[in-house]
């Protein structure tokens, strides 16, 4: 893995992406603390103002400071995306790996289950889940997490399959290795890089979904600030503040782009290191 990370820095897009992601991580951790004003405080005397020294990104239709709302909303947006990815990782990777080793029955059942999950659309399913379990971002992203499980399952299964019939695995079996020992020695190291790539790309997907859901007003109770929520309020007052959506949109787009660029670079670095014989 360390070799892979060293290889990553050779790519300029990866360096830029890592810088952006470091910034986003900082925002997610400390955003609410460094927000210059209370994100919920309404200044009814100054509605829909443009940028000024007091309000760098202006104010919204209720007179709330947009910069503070974006900073304060970072934590919720990023954590919600990570929550789904963690659920996908937890439910997808191990079954994918084991589907190669635990025999036909488990393989068949898990494959059919995953096939069924693939047919469900993200947003509709997430909205249905909030209707069922109560309106909350955690419920919605739990649903999304289950829906991205197939991506992790497929990737780890493919990586495990690629080594399942390798001669060195047979050599280990001929030395009396157990299935667990073969997974630990040979399969897991091959699965890990593939899963890392999927994790990065799925985080991007989930961030976009969080933004979409909160944009639609699902999962968050109104005063709570989120990136998608800020974008939605800014869009409503587009006529008064035409530049308004620019800030939240830039934040969402650059984070998703950074994750995609990182994904590509990781993939290139992984295949490149294998080619360098």
């Amino acid at each position: 893995m360390s070799a892979m990370r060293n290889g990553l820095l050779r790519y300029r897009s990866a360096r830029i992406a890592l810088a952006i992601l470091a910034g986003v991580t900082f925002l997610a951790a400390f955003g609410p603390l460094i927000a210059p004003q209370d994100p919920l405080a309404q200044h009814t005397d100054m509605l829909l103002r443009g940028p000024s020294p007091a309000h760098w990104l202006g104010t919204d239709s209720l007179g709330r400071d947009v910069l503070s709302r974006l900073l304060a909303g970072s934590t919720v947006s990023v954590l919600a995306a990570l929550q789904s990815v963690m659920i996908g990782l937890a439910l997808g990777v191990l079954p994918g790996l084991l589907s190669v080793y635990l025999g036909r029955t488990f393989e068949w059942v898990s494959l059919r289950f995953v096939d069924a999950l693939i047919t469900l659309p993200f947003l509709v399913f997430a909205i249905a889940m909030t209707a069922l379990l109560g309106n909350g971002l955690i419920q919605a992203m739990f649903a999304v997490g289950i829906l991205i499980t197939p991506a992790f399952y497929r990737v780890s299964r493919a990586a495990a399959l690629s080594v399942a019939n390798a001669q060195y695995v047979e050599a280990a079996r001929l030395m009396g290795a157990s299935t667990w020992s073969i997974i630990a020695w040979h399969a897991w190291p091959k699965v890990l890089p593939a899963v890392a790539v999927t994790t990065a790309s799925m985080t991007g997907v989930c961030l976009a979904i969080v933004a979409s859901l909160t944009f639609l007003g699902i999962g968050v109770v109104p005063p709570t600030p989120t990136w998608g929520g800020v974008l939605a309020t800014d869009l409503k007052t587009l006529y008064d503040r035409p530049f308004g959506p620019l800030a939240p949109a830039t934040l969402i787009i650059s984070t998703v782009w950074a994750l995609n660029a990182l994904t590509d670079a990781m993939r290139d670095a992984a295949s490149g290191s294998r080619d360098r014989v």
Binding site: A172, L174, H186, R274, V277
Partner: protein
Amino acid sequence: MIGGDRAPIGRPPDRAAAAPLLSVQDLCISAGNGAIVQGVSFSLHAGDTLGIVGESGSGKSLTCRAVLGVLPPGLRVTGGSIRYKGTELVGLDRRGWAPLRGTSISAVFQDPGSYLNPSIPVGRQLAEALRATLRLTRAEAYKRSLGLLRRMGLRDTEAIYQQYPFELSGGMLQRVLIAIAVCAGPGLLIADEPTTALDVTVQAEVLDLLAELQREQGLALIVVSHDLAVVAQMCPQVIVLRHGVILEAGPAERVLMDPRHDYTRSLVESHAQYGIERLPARRRIADTAEKPSSPPAIANPPGPLLQVRGVDVAYGKGLTSRRVLQSIDLTVGRGETVGLIGETGSGKTTLLRAVLGVTPLTAGSIRFDSAEIGTLRGRSLRDFRRSGRIQYVFQDPLESLDPDLTVGRSIAQGLHIRGDRDRAAPNSAAMDAHVMAALEAVGLDADLAERLPRELSGGQRQRAVVARSLVLDPALLLLDEPVSALDAASRIQILQLLGTLARERGIAQVFVSHDLGAVASIADRIAVLYRGRIVEAGLTAHLLHAPQHPYTRLLIGSAPTLTHGAADETERHALRAALARES
């Protein structure tokens, strides 16, 4: 004229004066900054055959690829000229190549399967080639294809026309590829290791075919091979390449019988030591057939280690079942090396896998150290494997080592696996000591333990694989074509290593190979496997001196040597007929 400044040898003056068909002058090929081929010159007239020999990486294949105009990306011709019938080929663009490649200049390569599309019947691929080069109609191309396939010595051509590559044997595929290569009547055919992937009996036939085609069509032929005997049989003229430079060039007899350069001499010597040259019976196959000698006396080895008795193995069930092994009897004594020889599909590997408990037996028994192991299943089989008494060495060391594990980790794996069971796992220092001892035993430096397999040479990798077996202190090594994937130099080193292990550690070995020379140089006894049966077995010297079974005689007769080509066609045909009568 070969080597640029050398006088033409053995060719009538009028032909030497005529312009050559192919003339390569001072060819240089570079990758980025380093030159890979430097100043290579040779020329060929119609009907000439030139042999190019050299170890892997000597630039022999690159030179051929340059003549074909298909250098790998990153490499380019940086100097010299290649002229075919007066046309300069260096720097020719796609349009310029179109009328030449595949039509006037064509090639066959080592691994025929990878040059055919797996999803199209072979006949259609041949017909496509005909239609592309000769502009024939579909019907004409079909008729011509059948004729060509027949000419290539294939029978039942209509059926073969419809078959996919995976349905044909390596020898048949190579014939199809040769048909595609010669279908447009080229002036120059390049054969790059054309028989390296083939069994020796098939090799003899393919080489005969190439020689016939050359005579018929007046082709100029370039044969690239690491096998000196193949070159000696096929080529009147030889050049020896090393590190991209011509070391020696001239008539094959002179170069191979009386080499002037030290490197050529070492090539010839190692060939003589580990090749089939040691077989005194080579030219007396026909004689032995007539005088029945005493039945081969098999010395009873003291203390049998492995006893295979009446083993049958069948794949599939009911009507579709196919018997792969039939009543096999084989005994390996302690410290004894038994060679197991046979063609592709004869059941050699299946027999090893049966001993390892991978392939279940249909009948018979396998005893190891007086304990029955043929019926072991599940936990008892795993426990037996963890004892490490029997170890298996694969053909291709690159594939049998995990690319992500250092060599040291790979070697230690067996110790870890064994430690899983008895909990008395050796501590890591003791384990390291074991790994180091194993590395030393196979002659690898201790610091190679930290390297990844891809950072080692082919020979070093195979040593590492042997070290992985040794660390478990085995009594029996099963070696499945352990030197077939290696170049000549590492082949000899591995054979020497195996010999040392047998002598100094008393490790018994079963050495499986289709390469008679390798087996002859290492085995105490040889068993010949043909179509799932052991048709002949005996002490190495005895078996090679007086082979009885027609297949053994065919096998020994098919292998060319430096001084003699393979036994002639009529002789081989007679033996094949005898074989056909038996089965």
